[in-house]
Subunit: 407 residues, 2 copies
DNA sequence: GTGTCGGCCGTCTGCCGACAA
DNA sequence: TTGTCGGCAGACGGCCGACAC
C-alpha cells in the first residue's frame, strides 16, 4: 500500500482528523473525506472534533445486533450506572474503510462529561454543526449484468460522463482518453474512456474488468465517480444490501459484544476516561452519536404530540435524498425495562405511503421535521410534550435552555 | 449451501455436538469432526460435552488480543468478582469454519459452577479425557509455486497418493480416475487424478485450478486430504501464517472486546448462568478452556521446581508433533496486578534449542511434561511447590484431592 | 440513451513430457 | 522423487458495432 499523495492530506472542512498515520495493522487511519462521505451516503454527517455529542448505548447496541446478525439477548441486563444517553466530549473522529470490502466506517473517541463539566457551556458550538461537505460533482451508477460481465466494459451514462469526466477531444476518431482514479485506500486505477458505437456512447474499456474482479463487484453493486476541486478523479463503491454479507464474528459472542459496549461506556463514565466506538453508516439503522446541539434543539425546543404530521429524509437508490411523510402515533420508551426515560426511538410513527414496511416504526425526535401547520388530527394533548430530564442521570444540572446558546 | 449427507451426521466419538442445525446466518452449526481436527492440528483436542472444565479469562484475552492485533490496554481493570480461573460445566461444543476463509473455530457454552456444585464430584470423568479422534489416513502438503500457478495442476507426493487416494487402474494408459472430495462446508470438489509424465508421477489436473482460485490459495498455504473409514475423501486447507490476515474488526473496539469477555464471564458467574466463547485453535497461543481433570492433575499432582527439566509438544510444518526440551527458570504470576495467584502461564522456562525465540517464555503447568529423573541442576527448593488455592476464589471447598478421583 | 448480443481476434489457461535438483 | 519449464491447443477475455427497448 502506498502513502497518500499530498493532495489527499488536507484537513477536511468539517474538522475530521486526517493525520494520515499508518496504523499497526498497516491500515491508514485517514482517507479522503469527500470520497468517504460519498460512499457513506448523503444523509451521513459526522460531528466535529472537539464538539459535544450525545452517545446512545441503545443505538450502539442496535448496530452491533445488525453486524452480528443477532438480536440483543433478553437476559443481558443494563448497567445500573449507565444512563440511556451520555453527554460526551468528542476527542477524535477518523474515517476508515475495510481493506477487504471497502466498507466505510468511522472511529470516534468519546469522553463522558461529568456533571461539573456539563455546566460549562462554552464548548457548545453556536451553529447546529455545518453539514459535512458532500461532493457535488459526482455520479453513482448501479452496475448492470453487462457492466460486470467479462464480455465487455462499463457503459457510462451520458450526463454522468459529461459532468464528471474531463472533456474528450472530439477531433480524434474515435474520441478517447486515459482516466486515472483513486479509491478509498489511495490505490490508483487506470481506465480507457472511449466514445464510440452506433449510437455513440461513453464506455470504460481497458482496465475496467481488473477493477471489477479486484473489488469483487457484481450486478446490483454501485460505483461512484467524483471530480473534485483539485481536478482529481475519485472512485468508490457501494455494495448492494446482500442479506448477511457480514460474517458472524468468530472473535467474540454477540452477547459478549453487547456486554463489552455497555461495560466500556460504563467504565469510561465512572473513571471520566475515554472510550472508542465504531460507527458503520451503511450497516447502522440510525446514528447513535449526534451533536449535543441537535439533541437539545430536538428534545427541548421542538413541540411534538400524538397526531402531529412530520417529514423525514431518506436516501434514494440513486444516492440522492427524498422526504417521506408520516404521522406521530405515540410517544413512549422503546425498552421500558432496560432503558427507561430514553429519547432513543421514543416516537412511534405511521408512514403515509403503502411501501412503508421498509421504514422504521419508531424514530427519534432529532430525525424528524415536525410540521406545525395543518395538523392532520386535532390533538387533545398539550401542544408541547414536557419530557423532564430523568432524575439520577447526567443532566445539565439546572442549566437553563437559553444557556445552551439557542433561542 | 447443501445439507450434509447422512454420512457426515454421526455423533463424533469424543462427544462433540453434531446436531447439524442450520443457524440463522445460514451457517451450519456442525461439520465433519475428523476434518475439523485435521485442520486444527494434531495438538488440539476439545473437552467433552458435559464434562467440567477450567476457563481462563486471561487466555481468552490473549486470543482476543491476537485476533484484533491489539494488546490489552493497561487501563482495563479486572473485574473484582472475577477469579483468574472459573470451574465450569461445559454444556455444548460445536465446531465451525469461517465461510470466507475456512478458518476453523469452536463455540463452547460454559456455565460457572457455584461452590455448592463444585462439591459434587460425581461429574468428574475418571479418565483424563480421551484425546479427540484425529484422522490417521491423511496427508498435508504445503503448496509450491507450481501448485498454485495457473500454468499447471497439483503435484501429489507419491506416498501420499498411494496412502490416501483410491488405487488407480494401472491397466489403463495413462492410469487416471475422478476424485470427489468434500470440504468443511460440505461443498463437493471434483479433480482428475492422473499418473503420467516421465518419470511417472501423481497429478491433480482438471478441477484443481478452480479449487485454488475459489479458496484463494497461494504458495505456502497447505492442503489436506483425508480418506476416512466411510471411504469418503475429505479436503481441508490451512493458510500460511500471513501476518495480520485477520482484519481489525470494525464492529467493536478491542478495548470493548476485552471488557466484553470479562463482563460476560463475571455476569455468568454472578447469576449462575451460561455464556458462550469462541476458540480459534490456530490463532490462539494456548488453549484457555481445559478439562478440569487435566488441570487438577497438573496443579495438584505434579511436582515442579526451578531448575527442573521438562519437555513439551509442538506441531511441525508437516502437521505432525515433536517434543522440545527446556528448563524451568521461575514460577510467578504473569500479571500480578490484574491476575494474581493465577496458574495461567505461571511457569517461566528456557528452551534448549537456539531457535527458541519462536517458543513462549512462559507456559502453564498442564502444557508440560516434567522429567523427574536426572534434573539438570540440583535444586535447593522443596521438591514439591505448594501453590495453595488462592483465598476468596471459587475453590473445591475442602474437597480432598483424592475426592477428585485421582491418585 | 443504454442494455445485451454476435462476431472476431488475441491472450492466457491448462495439459503434456523434458529436464534438473 | 518432484519442482519448474517450453511447447502447444483450445477456451475465454475483451473490443467492436448491430439492434432493440
Amino acid at each position: 500500500m502506498r502513502l497518500s499523495s499530498a493532495g489527499f492530506n488536507h484537513q477536511s472542512p468539517e474538522g475530521i482528523a486526517c493525520g494520515c498515520l499508518i496504523g499497526s495493522a498497516g491500515e491508514k487511519t485517514c482517507l479522503n473525506s469527500e470520497l468517504w462521505h460519498a460512499c457513506a451516503g448523503p444523509l451521513v454527517s459526522l460531528p466535529s472534533i472537539g464538539s459535544r455529542v450525545v452517545y446512545f448505548p441503545q443505538g450502539h447496541s442496535e448496530q452491533v445486533a445488525v453486524s452480528t446478525n443477532k438480536e440483543v439477548d433478553a437476559h443481558i441486563p443494563n448497567y445500573p450506572s449507565l444512563p440511556p444517553q451520555l453527554i460526551c466530549q468528542l476527542h477524535n473522529v477518523t474515517m476508515h474503510a475495510d481493506l477487504e470490502t471497502d466498507e466505510v466506517y468511522a472511529q470516534m473517541t468519546l469522553q463522558p462529561l461529568s456533571p461539573e463539566e456539563q455546566k460549562d457551556a462554552s464548548f457548545l458550538p453556536a451553529d447546529l454543526g455545518a453539514p459535512s461537505k458532500h461532493p457535488t460533482n459526482y455520479f453513482c451508477k448501479t452496475l448492470t449484468a453487462s457492466d460486470t460481465s467479462t464480455h465487455g466494459g462499463f457503459s457510462v451514462p451520458r450526463r454522468a460522463a459529461e459532468k464528471v469526466f474531463p472533456p474528450l477531444d472530439f477531433s480524434q476518431q474515435p474520441p478517447a482518453q486515459e482516466l486515472l482514479a483513486r479509491d478509498l485506500h489511495d490505490n490508483e486505477w487506470k481506465f480507457k474512456h472511449i466514445f464510440r458505437g452506433q449510437p455513440k456512447r461513453h464506455l470504460l474499456t481497458t482496465g475496467w474488468s481488473v477493477f471489477v474482479s479486484a473489488k469483487r463487484l457484481i450486478a446490483g453493486d454501485s460505483v461512484l465517480f467524483i471530480w473534485n476541486e483539485k481536478n482529481q478523479l475519485l472512485l468508490g463503491i457501494r455494495r448492494a444490501n446482500r442479506p448477511q454479507t457480514m460474517m458472524p464474528s468468530s472473535v467474540l459472542s454477540s452477547d459478549s459484544m453487547h456486554f463489552g459496549l455497555l461495560a466500556a461506556a460504563a467504565h469510561a463514565t465512572a473513571t471520566n476516561s475515554r472510550f472508542i466506538i465504531f460507527y458503520n453508516p451503511r450497516a447502522c439503522p440510525s446514528e447513535f452519536v449526534i451533536s449535543l446541539a441537535k439533541y437539545v434543539k430536538a428534545v427541548y425546543h421542538t413541540r411534538v404530540s400524538v397526531g402531529m404530521r412530520f417529514r423525514m429524509l431518506f436516501e434514494t437508490e440513486e444516492s440522492s435524498v427524498r422526504r417521506y411523510m408520516g404521522t406521530i402515533t405515540g410517544i413512549s420508551d422503546l425498552d421500558p425495562v432496560r432503558w427507561s426515560n430514553s429519547h432513543w426511538r421514543s416516537v412511534k410513527v405511521g408512514w403515509d405511503e403503502s411501501t412503508a414496511g421498509e421504514r422504521q416504526p419508531r424514530v427519534s425526535l432529532w430525525e424528524i421535521e415536525p410540521l406545525t401547520t395543518f395538523p392532520m388530527y386535532p390533538s387533545s394533548f398539550p401542544p408541547r410534550l414536557k419530557r423532564p430530564w430523568p432524575p439520577g442521570l447526567p443532566s445539565f444540572n439546572g442549566m437553563k435552555e437559553d444557556d445552551l446558546g439557542m433561542n
